[in-house]
Symmetry: C2
Subunit: 206 residues, 2 copies
C-alpha cells in the first residue's frame, strides 16, 4: 500500500548551501518525483527559463491567484512575491509521486500545517557562515546587496533548524548526496493518517 500514496520532501537552507546541485544529483536515484516550481514576480535572471526555474508572473497576476486561493503559501522576500501553487502538488501526490519543495522556513511551516503526516523535512547548510559567504561571493551572480540579504536571511533561518526532521551539512558533496538519497527514499514511505485508518480496518477484517 505504501508505494501508491504520494509524499513530500521539503528542502530548506540558505542560497549557496548547494540545494539545487544536490537535487540534480539525487533526482535519478529516488523514484518518481515532482519538483514543485514556485511562482514569482521577481525579474528573470540570465539563464533562467520560465516554467523550469520559476513561473514568472506579473504582480497583478500574482494578486489574482492569491484571491482565488490557488497558493499553498506565499511570501514576500527581498521585495518580490514568491508562492507555491496547490494544484500541481495535489495532482502529483495522487499519482504517487514524491513532491520535492525547495522553500524557506515559512514555506516549510505552511507545508507542515497542510500535509504534516506525509512530510519529511531537511535543512541543508554549509559547515559555517564563513563558508556560506565565501560561496555566495564566488558565484558572481548576485550584487553585494543581494548577498547581504541572503546572509541575513540565512542567519535567521539557521535558528530554526530544530523544526526540521534532518540537518544535512554540505561539506562533502557526494556524502551529502548519499545521505539525501536515503532520506528521500524513506520520505516516500510516509503514509497519510486517513490511509492508515483504512489499513487498520481492512487489516482486522481480512
Amino acid at each position: 500500500m505504501s508505494h501508491n500514496s504520494g509524499a513530500i520532501l521539503v528542502l530548506s537552507g540558505p542560497s549557496g548551501a548547494g540545494k539545487s546541485s544536490l537535487i540534480s544529483k539525487i533526482v535519478d536515484h529516488i523514484g518518481p518525483t515532482y519538483f514543485s516550481i514556485s511562482t514569482t514576480t521577481r525579474a528573470m535572471r540570465v539563464g533562467e527559463v520560465n516554467g523550469v526555474h520559476y513561473h514568472f508572473v506579473s504582480v497583478e497576476e500574482f494578486k489574482r491567484e492569491i484571491e482565488e486561493e490557488m497558493f499553498l503559501e506565499y511570501a514576500v522576500v527581498h521585495g518580490n512575491y514568491y508562492g507555491t501553487s496547490l494544484g500541481p502538488v495535489k495532482k502529483a501526490l495522487k499519482e504517487g509521486k514524491l513532491v520535492i519543495f525547495d522553500i524557506d522556513v515559512q514555506g516549510h511551516d505552511a507545508v507542515q500545517n497542510r500535509f504534516g503526516d506525509i512530510t519529511t523535512s531537511v535543512f541543508i547548510t554549509t559547515p559555517t557562515l564563513g563558508e556560506l559567504k565565501h560561496r555566495l561571493h564566488n558565484r558572481l551572480t548576485d550584487s553585494q546587496d543581494v548577498i547581504n540579504n541572503r546572509i541575513e536571511m540565512a542567519k535567521r533561518e539557521v535558528q530554526r533548524i530544530s523544526e526540521y526532521d534532518f540537518l544535512v551539512v554540505n561539506d562533502n558533496f557526494d556524502e551529502a548526496a548519499e545521505i539525501l538519497i536515503s532520506i528521500a527514499k524513506a520520505a516516500r514511505m510516509k503514509i497519510p493518517t486517513l490511509q492508515i485508518n483504512e489499513f487498520i480496518q481492512t487489516w482486522e477484517t481480512s
Copy 2:
C-alpha cells in the same frame, strides 16, 4: 557532525510479522549498530541463548534492577517481566551507533519520552490479520494459548500505528527489507537537539 552522534531505530509490530528476519537481513547494510537486548524473566525457549536473544534473569534479580533504576522501561507481558537496560544504550549512542530496539508499543512510548529527538520508529506488520494467524500457526513453536495472546496483543497494537513514523507492510520480504534499509540509513541522521544548538552557535561564529 551528523555522523558521530548516535541515533535510535524502534521496530514494533506483532510476533510473526517478520521483524527478526528483516533485522538479520538489513544489519550488514546500515553501518554500525547496537541491537538492544531485553532482559526478561520468562523461560528460555529451545534454541535461545542467554545474552543473545535475551538476558534471562530471575524475578528477584529483575525487581532489584527496577529498584536501582537500571531500566529505560519495563513491562509485564503474558505474565513475564520484560525490560530494557539503559546502560548499554547510552554507551552505544556515545559510540555513534544506531541503536535498534525490537519493542512493543509501550516500549516505544518510553523511548520517545526519553530520546524523542533522535528516534525514528517503524511499525512492521503482515498485510492482514488472517496472514498473521497463518504465520503464527505455521511456526509450530507456540502453544495455542500463546498464539491467542499474541493475536489479541497484535489487534491492540495495530490501533496505534499512527504513533509511528513509518508503516512497513511485510508482504514481499525483499521489498520490505529494502524499505527498512532506507529508513535505517535516514534514521542515523537524526541529531540531538542539544547538538543542533551547539551547531548553530558554532556556525554563526566561524
